[in-house]
């Protein structure tokens, strides 16, 4: 069985992460930003799983489960917040959410 070298995973992971970061930074739609965050999380998941198999340790996979669980929770909270914000502001454009401006 030919194993894919770990470098490939890392590169994929890096590409995915960069796409995620770019998405967060340039998009104004909160949902898209959210999806980008998911992308970043999964990019890191991919890297962790890859390293885990490379060093033959399960701990990485355990971490990933936690990350997925936390991500699920975060999505629930985050989506709820977005819904609430949409209710009050009729928009989910993040540029309009600047109440914390100093």
């Amino acid at each position: 069985m030919i194993s894919v070298p770990v470098n490939y995973y890392i590169i994929l992971s890096a590409i995915l992460f960069t796409i995620g970061v770019t998405g967060v930074l340039i998009r104004r739609n909160a949902l898209i930003i959210f999806m980008s965050i998911e992308l970043m999380l999964n990019a890191s998941n991919l890297a962790i799983v890859a390293f885990s198999s490379a060093i033959k340790s399960f701990s990485g996979q355990i971490f990933v489960f936690f990350v997925i669980a936390v991500a699920a929770a975060e999505v629930a909270v985050g989506l709820a917040l977005i819904v609430e914000i949409f209710k009050s502001k009729r928009s989910i454009d993040v540029d309009q959410m600047s109440s914390l401006k100093g």
Binding site: V21, V24, L25, I26, R28, I33, V94, D95, M97, S98, S99, L100, K101, G102
Partner: protein, 729 residues
């Protein structure tokens, strides 16, 4: 042991009922009185007082049966603490039994009289409901007086002493919302207050005497005190007796504390008769007699007491001769007669003093009650006139038909506008002999008894006093003899002015005689005034023998003039003759001045012209009230107001507390600390710190644009920077 055995003989156990009967009477009238008719109220009260009289008779009989032995009847504990042992114990001996008889006897007669008197009085004054209250107070008075005379210790006596003072206050101020003429005023309540306060001055003396006594004798109980008299320094006893004299002067209206008694005439007439003539005011005389062992031990004190009495007797008699109010004359006469008694007991002539006390109770009560009858007669006459006027006036005619109430209201209304009629002013009277014959004769008897005409009661008792004075205290004798002259003079003046001549006011012409319920008690008193002398007739000396059981008599030592040594069984013919001649002379003078040419309406007193300023002085009571006002009342009030308004409030409360303490604190905390140290020091620094931080953060604030993505970018840059650093390191 001894005590309980003897208590079983006789009726001594009844002693507490002297107080209980009147108290029960007053409680019944207080609780059920509003449902009773006037007659029932009167009967209940009179029965209560009558029951006390019956008890007194039984007690007196018991004393006589027991050979005059004094008896203590313990009833209850009172104050027992430390060395102080006070009990409610009744003392029955010949002296207290005598007083009980006088108080309850005269008291009961006056109760009966008052049923008739108050019936009309409350109607003339438009407050029928107050009838009940009068008899409650009257019974309370009997109870208090009984405590006074039957107490076994000075302090129990003091309870009664103040109790009668209270009753006097309540009864003088009985018509508290008006003056003696029924006008809306503070006068009556002022008189009541004055009486109580002056009495309290006397009580202060009594209390101090009590304190000294307690620390000298260790007890307040009469026997305990008296048996130690010879072991105590005379100076202490002088102090005790003189402080006690202050009490006596207060209660028995002697100089200088007599001023309340004339004003006390504001009370209804039965009160004047019972309290301010017959009983309460004699309490001082009783006290001195009771304390005979103390007074007899210190002649210096006796001298002072005798002189106070004698001077008062003369002083008051002069004022009495210048008064126009029928009751005021009698009031000053009472003060004068009390002076006789006090002088007598001061001289050690205790029996003479007590004798005069008893006869005086009879004839002065008679005079006052007759005066009350005269006043009511005048009121009736005046009322009659008002009624007649009413018939002429068509408008008021309607109202009169509605009944007595509306009628008297109308009269009241009328009085407020017109001139006020004074039914007690002798200048309004005259000729009453014809319209009120019964009262006239009763008044005559009283007058003769008071003037000391043979063989009326006053003759015997006054003579005994004069004789004792002549023997031992010449100065007092002269004063008293002149006072006796004045007595006969002003009584004569009164008789001529009131009963003879022509009516000087329409009311006098229409005066009506009083009903039976009033005149019958008067007749009893008149009989007693005639026969009272029999109590201690020369040669028989019933009263002397009776009182001897209690009061040890002291014979005066030393030589007296030979004419004074003559004795017809105790009566000296020269002294007796002299005083009778003086009295007759005085009556003759009064006839010359007032009887021969009767006073006309509106005429001034014929004495005024020849005597001038002296008569003005007599008329105005020698300005004693004004002097007291100026030297005591006004300064006291001023000092009080000064202390209250200036010292306590403006200085202490406002200045010291508000300005000095609170002000200083405010200054320190506000100006010194707050403004300078705090505001300009600490606060300024803190403020600078704040401003500096503010401007610093204002610059930083610009970073905070609120865009999440820009924050995310900074995070990314940070991460890149850190990772770059880690890689390049």
């Amino acid at each position: 042991m001894h005590l309980s055995e003897t208590v079983n003989i006789g009726f001594f156990f009844l002693a507490p009922w002297l107080v209980f009967f009147p108290v029960i009477g007053l409680l019944i009238n207080m609780i059920f009185g509003h449902r009773f008719s006037e007659t029932v109220i009167g009967i209940v009260a009179s029965l209560a007082s009558g029951a006390a009289f019956v008890v007194s008779v039984l007690l007196a009989w018991s004393v006589a049966a027991g050979g005059g032995e004094a008896m203590s009847v313990p009833f209850a504990q009172w104050i027992h603490i430390g060395a102080l042992n006070l009990d409610w114990t009744f003392r029955v001996d010949s002296l207290s039994a005598t007083m009980m008889l006088v108080v309850s006897g005269v008291g009961t007669l006056i109760h009966i009289y008052a049923i008739g008197y108050m019936h009309e009085d409350v109607r003339f004054k438009n407050d029928v409901g107050r009838f009940q209250r009068f008899f409650i107070f009257l019974n309370l008075f009997i109870a208090a007086m009984m405590i006074l005379v039957s107490g076994d210790s000075y302090m129990m006596l003091f309870v009664g002493w103040e109790g009668v003072g209270l009753c006097s206050f309540l009864l003088i101020g009985f018509w508290y919302e008006m003056d003696t003429l029924g006008r809306s005023s503070w006068a009556n309540s002022n008189a009541a207050k004055k009486a109580f306060i002056v009495n309290r001055v006397g009580d202060f003396g009594f209390l101090i005497a009590g304190f000294i006594m307690f620390y000298a004798f260790g007890s307040f109980q009469f026997d305990e005190v008296f048996k130690q008299v010879h072991n105590i320094a005379p100076a202490t006893i002088v102090a005790i007796t003189l402080f006690m004299l202050v009490g006596v002067a207060g209660k028995s209206a002697q100089l200088p504390l007599y001023v309340w008694l004339p004003d006390a005439m504001a009370g209804p007439t039965p009160v004047s008769a019972l309290i301010h003539a017959a009983t309460m005011v004699t309490a001082g005389v009783y006290l001195v007699t009771r304390s005979a062992p103390l007074y007899s031990a210190v002649p210096q004190a006796q001298n002072i007491v005798a002189m106070v009495g004698a001077v008062t007797a003369l002083f008051a008699a002069t004022i009495a001769a210048g008064q126009y109010d029928i009751k005021k004359v009698l009031a000053y006469s009472t003060i004068s007669q009390l002076g006789f008694m006090v002088a007598a007991v001061g001289m050690g002539a205790y029996v003479a003093g007590m004798f005069h006390l008893i006869t005086h109770a009879f004839f002065k009560a008679l005079l006052f009650l007759s005066a009350g009858s005269v006043i009511l007669g005048m009121e009736r006459g005046h009322h009659h006139l008002a009624h007649a006027h009413g018939h002429d006036d068509h408008k008021t005619k309607q109202k009169f038909k509605k009944g007595k109430h509306a009628e008297s209201k109308e009269e009241h209304h009328e009085e407020e506008h017109g001139e006020v009629f004074d039914p007690g002013d002798m200048r309004n009277m005259g000729g009453l002999r014809k319209t009120m014959p019964v009262t006239f004769w009763l008044y005559m008897i009283g007058t003769l008894a008071l003037a000391g005409i043979f063989p009326f009661a006053g003759f015997w008792s006054k003579d005994e006093i004069l004789l004792d004075a002549a023997k031992a205290y010449p100065v007092a004798y002269y004063l008293l003899a002149v006072a006796a002259f004045f007595t006969a003079f002003y009584m004569g003046r009164q008789i001529w002015m009131v009963f003879f001549g022509e009516a000087r006011h329409a009311a006098a012409a229409h005066a009506e005689e009083s009903p039976r319920v009033m005149t019958v008690p008067l007749m009893v008193l008149a009989a007693l005034s005639v026969l009272g002398g029999a109590l201690n007739l020369p040669g028989v000396h019933t009263l002397t023998n009776w009182l001897e059981h209690t009061v040890t008599l002291v014979e005066h030592e030393g030589q007296v003039a030979s004419w004074l040594d003559v004795s017809w069984g105790g009566l000296n013919p020269y002294v007796a003759l002299l005083s009778t001649v003086l009295a007759l002379l005085a009556i003759y003078f009064s006839w010359l001045i007032y009887g021969r040419n009767p006073l006309k309406a509106g005429q001034i007193d014929p004495l005024k012209k020849p005597l001038g300023a002296i008569f003005t002085g007599m008329e105005n009571k020698w300005y004693v009230d004004e002097i007291y006002q100026a030297i005591i009342l006004t300064p006291y009030t001023k000092i009080s107001y000064f202390l209250a308004d200036v010292i306590d409030w403006k200085f202490w409360h406002d200045f010291v507390h508000e300005t000095v303490i609170a002000g200083t604190y405010n200054w320190i905390s506000n100006i010194a600390l707050n403004d300078y140290a705090d505001q300009k020091g600490i606060d300024a620094f803190a403020n600078w710190l704040g401003t500096a931080t503010q401007s610093f953060s204002a610059t930083l604030r610009k970073v905070q644009n609120g865009f999440v993505r820009s924050y995310a970018l900074s995070v990314l840059l940070g991460v890149v920077f850190i990772i770059g650093y880690l890689i390049l390191k």
